[in-house]
């Protein structure tokens, strides 16, 4: 753009004068610059939403219509398209494809939490030195026999009971034959013909993260739960070399097989997540998907929705999914692939496929011709297992409160939202909720038995433990680098249960303001309370931080002074379509600024101001008008 002389520019900007020395039809078109010239008051560039009455908008004649900024252009086009109805509806949900029904069945393998392996007395381990916990039978040494370790039944039965299964009084073990270097004996001992538990059910609710299309919740039936052996750990080293660690051989696993009741990918991921939480809660499986303690295989098939009686389509199996997101992504990718194949007129083959994180399509691992004949046979070395009812009943009674019941209790008794309740239960591996219960106990003791406002106090506690404590540890300015650590019985070193209960109790009684309370929390976190002050009350006393609220007359005086000179705003309260809450809060803010801030409770100030407006100021205005 050619340089415009500063004189010309200043004259135009400050006085609106066009240069007239040249012909009006300028060879170089003179356009008003959009950038504000430094130092000059931007007459034409004042923000358009300013309230000032003396705003001088740029005269329309100076605006050249030739240049329309790109953003405006796109907005106009979008508006036009929308008006014409041509705008593509954004398909935010990839859970359903029109015209097709997805059916998913899941098989979950989980490592049981036991001291010994399943058929040998070697110890279970996670990360020990390789090949240090291997018995003769684990290496299939000739002459070795399996010896069923009965203690492995405890977590297995607990898992089955948590999934509401019926425990079979009699179950037996079978051999599943296939050759692989991580299976020294050439067969895996499993329970193919007679599993130890059948016919269970999990209830998935909307708070568990299922697809929105599944509504409030769906039940997913469990077909069976069976015990089986784990294989050895393989580490691929060079091209074709593998290092084998047999510590993991023979570790007890349970396989949970569901019926194909799932129809959306997000629900499948939610099911796996919920099973992990459930198994962890009953101490059956304490390592999750991230550490390899839980693995999921999914079976996916699609069919058209136009015929409800059509049989289910051919299913493919996706193996070795190792995270919840992988489960969902793999199901979506496989569903899309199968639909593409069927749309193109092809046939979906029944095969085994794999998924790697970050890929867009499943890849084929093994086709039908590579299917192994497992030659299942009852294992003659192992006697059938007969489980007595007294054991099952004892385990059922001593399971404790399950996660669903816990969250329901929090929602029902404390009025927490499901989301908050789930967060509270999941934070710090379940230690924060223990801390919460301890604080509740401490508060109950302080409140006394006949307090009517317990619920609001407890809700305050829940809010603080969820959000305020997190803020403490997140602050980077803290000099001490210790984190906020909770113990498994719900104690905390830095913010003790009693200290927090004291603060919350004072806050609930409105003896201190929220701001002061947060300061006190900070002080406790820093360790200043036990070191410099004896207790919370002591600290408040010493620093004179009690909340001495203004009296009613003082509030009214303050309201008067705040309203002074704000006639323009008061006018807005005279005739209004909708109560101008924003203006009210502005006035309240003025009150707080003018008055002693630490003595004002904003809620009460708002009430007083509202009342004052109704009773005094507006009628006064009306009389004047």
């Amino acid at each position: 753009m050619p340089r415009i002389p500063v004189v010309t520019l200043s004259r135009y900007l400050l006085r609106g004068e066009l240069p007239h020395r040249e012909c009006l039809r300028l060879s170089r078109p003179l356009r008003p610059t959009r950038r504000p010239v430094p130092g000059a008051p931007s007459l034409g560039l004042r923000p358009l939403h300013s309230e000032s009455a003396s705003s001088a908008s740029v005269p329309a004649s100076i605006q050249t219509p030739a240049h329309v900024p790109l953003r405006k252009q796109m907005k106009d086009e979008a508006k036009k398209a929308k008006a014409l109805g041509k705008k593509k509806k954004k398909n935010a949900s990839n859970q359903v494809i029109e015209g097709w029904e997805l059916t998913v069945g899941i098989e979950i393998h989980a490592q049981l939490n036991t001291a010994r392996k399943l058929f040998s007395a070697a110890a279970t381990s996670f990360n020990d030195d390789p090949n240090t916990h291997v018995a003769y039978f684990d290496l299939a040494t000739p002459g070795s026999m399996p010896i069923f370790q009965r203690e492995t039944l405890i977590p297995a039965l607990r898992a089955a009971l948590a999934l509401n299964c019926e425990v079979q009084p009699r179950s037996s073990f079978d051999r599943k034959h296939y050759f692989h270097w991580d299976q020294p004996s050439g067969y895996q001992i499993t329970q193919y013909y007679e599993p130890f538990a059948r016919d269970g059910r999990i209830w998935l609710q909307s708070r568990d993260g299922i697809a929105a299309e599944d509504g409030d919740g769906i039940p997913v039936r469990i077909k069976q739960v069976q015990m089986e052996q784990d294989t050895a750990k393989t580490m691929a080293q060079a091209e074709s070399t593998h290092w084998i660690d047999f510590n993991r051989t023979g570790l007890p696993l349970i396989e949970i097989i569901t019926h194909p009741d799932i129809h959306h990918p997000a629900t499948a991921a939610a099911l796996v997540r919920k099973v992990q939480i459930l198994l962890n809660a009953v101490d059956a499986c304490v390592s999750g998907m991230e550490t390899g303690g839980l693995r999921a295989d999914v079976n996916v098939s699609v069919r058209r929705t136009d015929d409800p009686n059509a049989p289910l389509g051919t299913r493919t199996e996706i193996k070795n999914l190792s995270s919840f997101k992988a489960v969902e992504d793999a199901i979506i990718a496989e569903r899309d692939r199968q639909i593409a194949v069927l749309d193109a007129g092809g046939v979906v083959e029944s095969e085994t496929r794999g998924w790697s994180i970050g890929s867009t399509e499943t890849r084929r691992l093994r086709g039908k011709e590579g299917e192994v004949d497992y030659r299942y046979m009852p294992d003659p070395d192992l006697a059938p297992l007969v489980i007595q009812n007294d054991l099952v009943n004892h385990l059922q009674e001593s399971m404790g409160q399950l996660p669903d019941a816990e969250v329901d209790e929090l929602v029902r008794d404390f009025g927490l939202t499901p989301k908050d309740a789930l967060s509270l239960v999941a934070l710090d591996d379940g230690r924060r909720i223990e801390y919460f219960w301890n604080v509740i106990d401490a508060l109950s003791a302080r409140l006394g038995p006949d307090c009517t406002t317990r619920l609001s106090c407890f809700q305050l506690a829940a809010n603080w433990i969820l959000h305020e404590l997190g803020r403490l540890a997140a602050n980077p300015h803290d000099d001490a680098s210790r984190d906020l650590i909770f113990t498994s019985d719900g104690q905390c070193d830095r913010v003790s249960v009693d200290a927090l209960a004291d603060i919350l109790h004072l806050l609930h009684q409105r003896k201190i303001t929220a701001k002061v309370a947060k300061e006190l929390l900070w002080v406790v976190y820093r360790g200043i309370v036990p070191s410099q002050y004896d207790s919370i009350v002591d600290a408040v006393e010493t620093e004179n931080m009690w909340f001495r609220e203004l009296s009613e007359e003082e509030y009214n005086e303050l309201a008067d002074s705040a309203v002074d000179g704000q006639d323009g705003i008061l006018q807005q309260f005279v005739n209004y379509k909708q109560y101008p809450q924003g203006k009210l809060m502005f006035l309240v803010g003025r009150m707080v600024r003018l008055g002693p801030e630490e003595r004002i409770d904003p809620k009460n100030a708002e009430i007083v101001m509202r009342q004052a407006l109704e009773e005094r100021y507006i009628p006064a205005l009306r009389q004047d008008a």
Binding site: T114, A115, A121, A122, A123, F126, N127, D128, D129, P130, N131, T132, H133, V134, Y136, L139, R150, I154, P155, T234, M235, E239, S240, T241, H242, W243, I244, D245, F246, N280, A281, D283, V286, S287, G288, E290, T291, G292, G293, P380, A383, L385, V386, Q388, L391, H394, M399, G400, Q401, L402, D428, D429, G430, R431, I433, E434, W437, S488, D489, G490
Partner: protein, 272 residues
């Protein structure tokens, strides 16, 4: 299974016995079709009267009585004496004989079988006759066993004590058996959930116990379980690398290469 009197019979034998008793009165001569039954024992003593107390007055057959006298012997099926063979055909079940006649072992078949088994041919005619007779008798026995009606009888998986007492002793797991393991648990938390006490000293936590990814963190070292883990696990390996077994997949076979115990190899652990 509930029984009023303790008995040493398993369910299968009971069913078989009951069926046999219901089929008719116990008459050794009248048993059709079954090769096992009705054979008079060759070696049994002279008196072989009707075995079952057939008078209608006894409502419950006494198993002890029934089992006290043998009804047949293996030798009845293995009769090497051709005369006895012929004699037994008149009294025995007709069903077994035609089978023996139709595919009896001819000398040619015998030679063929001996060649297939890489056994030396018969040295003399007498030896050959002896081999033939033995083989025929053995086949008769096998066919007799195969002819038993096994409808409704569960296939035998292993020979076990399947009586009520045996099942209770060996196969049943009840609360009493697991009291020890259940005592090694703590009840933790507001939810009163049981948690197994771990031997490696980790406290019974309320949440996910293993939060480290494999390969990180200090490797634990624990005492080997006496009598179970205290043997040289790697002794039989042809190839090892440190404390790992080494397997070569693909065409390069490592099974014939000599044992190569590596030194302290860096165990870069990558989960496959």
């Amino acid at each position: 299974m509930k029984t009023t009197t303790p008995t040493a019979m398993c369910t299968q034998c009971r069913t078989a016995l009951r069926r046999r008793l219901q089929a008719g009165q116990w008459r050794p001569q009248q048993q059709p079709r079954r090769a096992l039954e009705g054979r008079r024992s060759v070696s049994s003593s002279a008196a072989t009267p009707d075995l079952a107390p057939s008078p209608p007055s006894s409502t419950r057959p006494n198993p002890r009585d029934i089992l006290s006298k043998p009804t047949w012997s293996v030798r009845s099926l293995l009769a090497p004496n051709p005369a006895k063979d012929a004699a037994s055909t008149t009294t025995g079940s007709p069903a077994a004989e035609p089978e023996a006649d139709s595919d009896s072992i001819t000398p040619q078949t015998l030679h063929h079988l001996l060649r297939l088994s890489a056994l030396p041919p018969a040295a003399s005619a007498a030896e050959e006759a002896g081999l033939l007779a033995t083989l025929r008798a053995q086949l008769r026995f096998v066919r007799a066993v195969q002819g038993v009606d096994t409808r409704g009888v569960r296939p035998l998986v292993a020979v076990r004590d399947e009586t009520a007492a045996g099942v209770a002793a060996e196969q049943t797991v009840g609360l009493a058996a697991l009291r020890g393991a259940l005592a090694r648990e703590d009840i933790v938390g507001h939810n009163r959930r049981p948690r197994r006490r771990r031997e490696d000293g980790a406290a019974a936590g309320t949440g996910l116990a293993r939060t480290q990814a494999p390969g990180q963190g200090k490797k634990q070292r624990r005492e080997a379980v006496a009598g179970v883990e205290d043997w040289d696990v790697l002794a039989g390996a042809t190839m090892t690398a440190g404390r790992y077994f080494v397997v070569r997949s693909g065409n390069g076979s490592g099974s014939t290469s000599p044992a190569a115990k590596g030194g302290s190899t860096a165990e870069a652990v990558k989960e496959p």
